[in-house]
């Protein structure tokens, strides 16, 4: 019979009366192999090319916090929003990144930190999944792999990594409370410490509160439903409901232990309620998933898996679990950046139902039962073979990534390093107001600290007229000059892949003074610097052009003369 045996056998998914028991040592080695595979997977993901648009301003802020021993409360990096209030919810992350950069070999240290945390996330998830005795290791492994796939685009050195780590830690502790219907003092202390830490690393802590509340509502409903039928069970559910509510409230209170107090909620609400961000292609992670691309397909596959598990499982559904999963799925569909949270939390919530679902599937269809019998005889061998093969693939990938270096991992070729060096070399006056691209603003904050930017990926600083103006400029209006009148920039730095570059290339009142490559439409963007023509910039323009022969190259000449 299937079901209770699963807990003891550990790795058997499909069994019949002729079941084969596997020794604990082979089961243990399978788990280790799969665990190693997951860790390598995390490293492999981190080694894939990812841009790190926020890292740079976070490094600069971290340096500033270390030197001044205080957290900034106003913007000082831009000229468009200089002095605007700043709620730096991820100040703790900024400090950690800055320290890593300083002491662990600069960008290598940052990469190692990111990879270590990513590995910890997947391993932590895997261990929590294994902790549930009814979840066979192979299913735990598979769920963790799928969660990893959903996290792949976000396994970069960003405060979100700490959110993912704190989320699974918090859910692990909460689960232990639910299973035992008891709040252990150490567990509770751990939960509070995690919330405090989380609130100072990244403002996504309310996600855990929302999940707690879903569980509380579900257990409360169960408690009321069972009240008439089974008083003992009803008491357990109601007790769990109170525990979950208590954890939610305690977490909310713990989150206020941060430099901004209640202000931390304001930034969270401002960001999630912003209607403009999801409509812009420059903030792709805030848009709904596109099911034409590989990430969308992975998300869809994961959601279908959850749906199948809930439909097919024999285990009675907990309403709270279903509510939480529904909320996570909706949020993942709403914005791509919520996908990892679905992957991690969704795996933990759905795992207890998974074994029963696959077992039921095999019960329902004769060929699947026969297949199951065939597989179960050599299940350990198959799982170890698969895990080892996959590990080998990741190792090869890691080796290739190692050879390519950090330039590839952080896509450093996309940062305007040469353009920044040119600006410094030419000693372009810092009084010239710089208009820049959204995604490079962060790098400019780091690389050109004496040149305030117009905008950067610290989006919440710029919400309002500045952000709206930038978005309007991205629509390349015909009368874009009337938008710029308010700000009157005198210098522009952007890449040829930015649509706004066309505006300045075609504008006779702007002079192209620098280009670090050809004018082309390939993936490799060329960085351009423009200076506004005026009596005061005439000499500067001549000097810069003389020092940058690329500006006078054939393709630029042809493009500009043919206007």
């Amino acid at each position: 019979m299937i079901g209770p045996h699963l807990a003891k056998s550990g790795i058997h998914v499909i069994q019949s009366s002729g079941m084969v028991k596997t020794g604990k040592s082979t089961v243990g080695s399978s788990k280790v192999v799969m665990g190693v595979c997951l860790f390598l997977y995390a490293l492999w993901i981190c080694a894939q090319p990812h841009t790190v648009p926020d890292l740079w301003w976070q490094l600069r802020i971290g340096d500033g916090i270390r030197e001044a021993h205080r957290i900034p409360r106003h913007d000082v990096f831009s000229w468009s929003c200089y002095g605007h209030p700043l709620v730096l919810h991820e100040w703790g992350s900024c400090l950690i990144f800055a320290e890593c950069y300083r002491h662990l070999g600069k960008l290598s240290g940052i990469w190692m930190l990111g990879a270590a945390v990513a590995g910890l996330i997947l391993e932590g998830l895997y261990l929590l999944l294994l902790k549930n005795k009814t979840t066979p290791p192979v299913i735990a492994f598979f769920l963790a792999l799928m969660a990893g796939r959903l996290c792949a685009e976000f396994f970069t050195p960003r405060p979100h990594l700490f959110t993912f780590l704190c989320l699974i830690a918090s859910l692990g502790i909460l689960n232990s409370f639910r299973v035992n219907s008891k709040v252990s003092p150490f567990g509770f202390l751990g939960l509070i410490l995690i919330q405090i830490l989380w609130a100072n690393l990244h403002a996504a802590a309310p996600v855990f509160v929302a999940i707690c509340l879903c569980f509380a509502v579900g257990d409360g409903l169960h408690g009321l439903i069972e009240a008439g039928k089974n008083k003992e069970l009803s008491r357990v559910y109601l007790k769990n409901c109170i525990i979950e509510l208590f954890c939610a409230v305690a977490s909310l209170a713990a989150m206020m232990v941060n430099p901004y107090g209640l202000g931390i909620y304001r930034i969270f609400l401002d960001t999630v309620s912003n209607k403009v961000l999801p409509t812009t292609s420059m903030a792709a992670e805030w848009q709904s998933a596109d099911f034409h691309d590989s990430y969308g397909r992975a998300l869809e596959a994961f959601v279908f898996l959850i749906g199948f598990i809930l439909t097919a499982t024999r285990k009675k559904h907990n309403i709270g679990d279903v509510l939480a999963l529904g909320l996570l799925i909706l949020s993942a569909f709403y914005a791509v950046r919520n996908g990892p949270i679905l992957g991690l939390a969704g795996s933990l919530i759905a795992a207890p139902y998974a074994a029963g679902a696959f077992a039921r599937l095999s019960e329902r269809y004769l060929p699947l039962e026969a297949l199951g019998k065939l597989l179960s005889k050599r299940q350990t061998l198959y799982t170890q073979a698969i895990a080892l093969s996959v590990s080998l693939v990741f190792l090869v990938g890691l080796f290739q990534a190692w050879n390519a270096g950090l330039d590839r991992a952080f896509m450093l070729q996309s940062v305007p390093e040469s353009a920044c060096a040119f600006i410094k070399k030419e000693k372009i006056p810092t009084s010239l107001k710089l208009y820049n691209e959204y995604n490079t603003g962060s790098y400019l904050i780091w690389r050109l600290p004496n040149y305030p930017v117009f905008i950067s990926t610290e989006a919440f600083v710029y919400f309002g007229p500045v952000f709206n103006t930038y978005l309007q400029m991205n629509q390349i209006p015909f009368d874009w000059r009337s938008l710029m009148v308010r700000y009157n920039p005198q210098m522009v730095l952007m890449g040829t892949d930015d649509i706004q570059a066309h505006l300045f290339l075609e504008a006779p009142d702007w002079a192209l003074v620098y280009a670090d490559g050809p004018l082309s439409d390939t993936d490799q963007s060329t960085n351009l610097i423009f200076i506004k023509r005026s009596a005061g910039t005439k000499d500067l323009i001549s000097r810069c052009r003389a020092d940058c022969p690329e500006v006078g190259s054939t393709d630029f000449k042809e493009y500009l003369s043919a206007r």
Binding site: Q287, D290, H292, G326, L366, I476, H502, A562, R563
Partner: protein
């Protein structure tokens, strides 16, 4: 247990839902393809033959064209002619959609065990995501026939020996294959149902009445095969299938054409879809009876199609909901059992959840939602430029012309071109969305592209999509086709290319405020550029004199930076 429903209540709710659908179908919802379809229908009747090669464009003139919806084009033209223009089309569309939703609602009501109000609410929920397809397009035939297919198949499961009646689908599929290539979706659904039943019949361990299920599966498979063969009875034979496959496998089209993109949850449409999808999933998860394999696969596959592409949402709202409805209602019955016994503690069948709800509830429900639909449609109509511009016309005409949003096409520019603004021999380069209207309204000027994307697959479509990205080598791309004049609009990125080029001169614009987003109210601000090398300065001046906006001082001051206005 099905209790007999109150027929009057059933009728009122059915009428209510039909009127809601009619109201929703009047909301502005333009179809850019309608115009070329009208011209095609007219020409088919004149020539007594379906087209096999393209004659509407100069970029793909003579290339093969599979007009799979040829019969729908003929129907639309006949209705347009007999019904005094767009008014007739609006009425026809509303009737077709009303029949579709009536069948849908009847199926839902029966699945619910005649819980009239819950069935009505579910139909209403499904109507909103369905309404994105409420356009005068051949798709509306697909919605009708796919609903009939689902109704017929699901009926087989409920009643006794209705298997013979399913063979009636075959002539329907022959008709459908000539109306729209969505017929292959019907074939696919039949196939999934048959395979699912065969799996349950042959391999399912705990299937009740395995023999019966096996027979159903075999019958369905035979009917599927017959229907598939029936679809080949069309002017193009197997080429119609090849054309369909070519379309769905073209990644550029899937990523660029808006109706083929994934839905977003940031708008009302996406949220409506999420709600109805949620109901279906909950139904499948919590059903009292285990879902049949076929039903599970159908709901999963249709959900996948809907997530992949906006244009598949209406099909999910129809067939997906019809399939999931019995499970949803069985869960509801478990949760809130309805009894005919007035002494029972379970809910009475006279309650809102029963089969004979109080008449007051029925009236309030039906009329309430109808009023809301009429109000929202009215607001959508009255804020549309077409409505505002047609205050002297009869109501039906006003509604119908606002429904198709004629003003979202370059109407005035076409009038100028028809009066000889440019020579007839000049090659026109136009936008994808306006191509259909130009085929209809400007027959003397072949288009460069239009909504018949499959005709342009290859370099023509790829180059058009590339130009939308404003590439630096755009002149080389344009030089491949070498048009003489360009008809575009300020909200199309390609307009910037010509405006910023010294090789082109702007000779016409509808409204001088190029950044006014009045296209959001259904307007179109046409711009016409001519190649400078094709005209002398004197001729250019003459062209511009026909459009004072281009010569106005304000316009020239604001846009002085652009070479095209010089």
């Amino acid at each position: 247990m099905d209790t007999k429903p109150n027929r009057l209540s059933l009728g009122i709710l059915m009428l209510g839902i039909v009127l809601v659908v009619v109201a929703l179908s009047c909301s502005p919802n333009p179809s850019t393809d309608l115009y070329w379809q009208l011209r095609t229908g007219r020409e088919i009747l004149q020539r007594h033959a379906a087209p096999h090669v393209d004659t509407y464009s100069w970029t793909r003139h003579g290339s093969p064209w599979i007009a799979h919806e040829w019969l729908a084009c003929v129907v639309f033209w006949l209705v347009y002619k007999a019904g005094h223009g767009f008014a007739g089309l609006l009425v026809f569309k509303a009737i077709l959609l009303a029949i579709t939703v009536a069948i849908f609602h009847f199926s839902i009501t029966r699945s619910s065990g005649y819980k009239l109000v819950p069935a009505y609410l579910l139909t209403l929920c499904a109507s909103y995501p369905l309404s994105i397809g409420f356009q005068a397009r051949p798709q509306i035939f697909t919605y009708l026939f796919v609903t009939i297919t689902a109704f017929a198949v699901l009926s087989l499961r409920n009643a006794g020996d209705t298997r013979k009646r399913l063979w009636g689908l075959v002539p329907l599929y022959i008709l459908w294959a000539n109306l729209h290539s969505g017929v292959y979706l019907g074939v696919f659904l039949l196939f999934v149902w048959s395979v699912g039943d065969l799996i349950d019949g042959y391999f399912g361990r705990n299937t009740v009445s395995r023999e019966e299920v096996k027979k159903q599966g075999v019958t369905l498979l035979c009917i599927t095969a017959a229907c598939f063969l029936g679809t080949l009875i069309n002017p193009y034979g197997v080429l119609e299938i090849a054309n369909l496959l070519q379309t769905v496998l073209n990644q550029n089209a899937m990523n660029a054409v808006s109706e083929w993109t994934s839905p977003t949850l940031h708008g009302a449409g996406g949220i409506n879809f999420a709600v109805i999808a949620g109901f279906c999933v909950i139904g499948m998860i919590y059903a009292r009876n285990r879902a049949r394999t076929a039903d599970f696969i159908i709901v999963a596959v249709l959900l996948h199609f809907a997530l992949y592409s906006l244009r598949n949402i209406p099909v999910f709202a129809l067939v997906g909901v019809m399939t999931a409805a019995p499970y949803l209602f069985s869960w509801m019955t478990d949760l809130l059992p309805v009894s005919t016994d007035s002494d029972s503690q379970s809910i009475s069948h006279r309650s809102i959840l029963g089969s004979n709800p109080r008449m007051a509830i029925v009236f309030i429900g039906a009329s309430g939602f109808l009023c809301i639909s009429i109000m929202s449609t009215s607001v959508n109509l009255m804020t549309n430029l077409d409505w505002l511009a047609r205050s002297t016309e009869p109501v039906l005409q006003r509604v119908s012309e606002t429904n198709v949003q004629i003003s979202s096409n370059p109407v005035q520019a076409v009038a100028s071109l028809n009066s000889g603004l440019v020579p007839d021999s000049w090659k026109m380069y136009n936008g994808y969305g306006s191509g259909g209207f130009l085929i209809w309204a400007l027959p003397g000027h072949p288009v460069s592209i239009d909504g018949r994307a499959d005709v342009y697959f290859g370099e023509a479509l790829d180059d058009y999509l590339t130009l939308n990205q404003w590439p630096y080598n755009w002149k080389q791309i344009v030089a491949k086709q070498n048009p003489d004049f360009v008809l575009t609009a300020p909200n199309q990125r390609q307009a910037r290319l010509y405006m910023s080029s010294a090789d082109w001169a702007l000779v016409y614009v509808d409204t001088p405020d190029l950044d006014n987003p009045f296209w959001t109210m259904g307007g179109y601000n046409a711009m016409i550029f001519v190649r400078r090398s094709d005209v002398s300065k004197a001729k250019l001046a003459v062209m511009r004199q026909r459009c004072p906006a281009v010569l106005s001082k304000d316009f020239l001051t604001v846009y002085k930076w652009y070479p095209a206005v010089r």
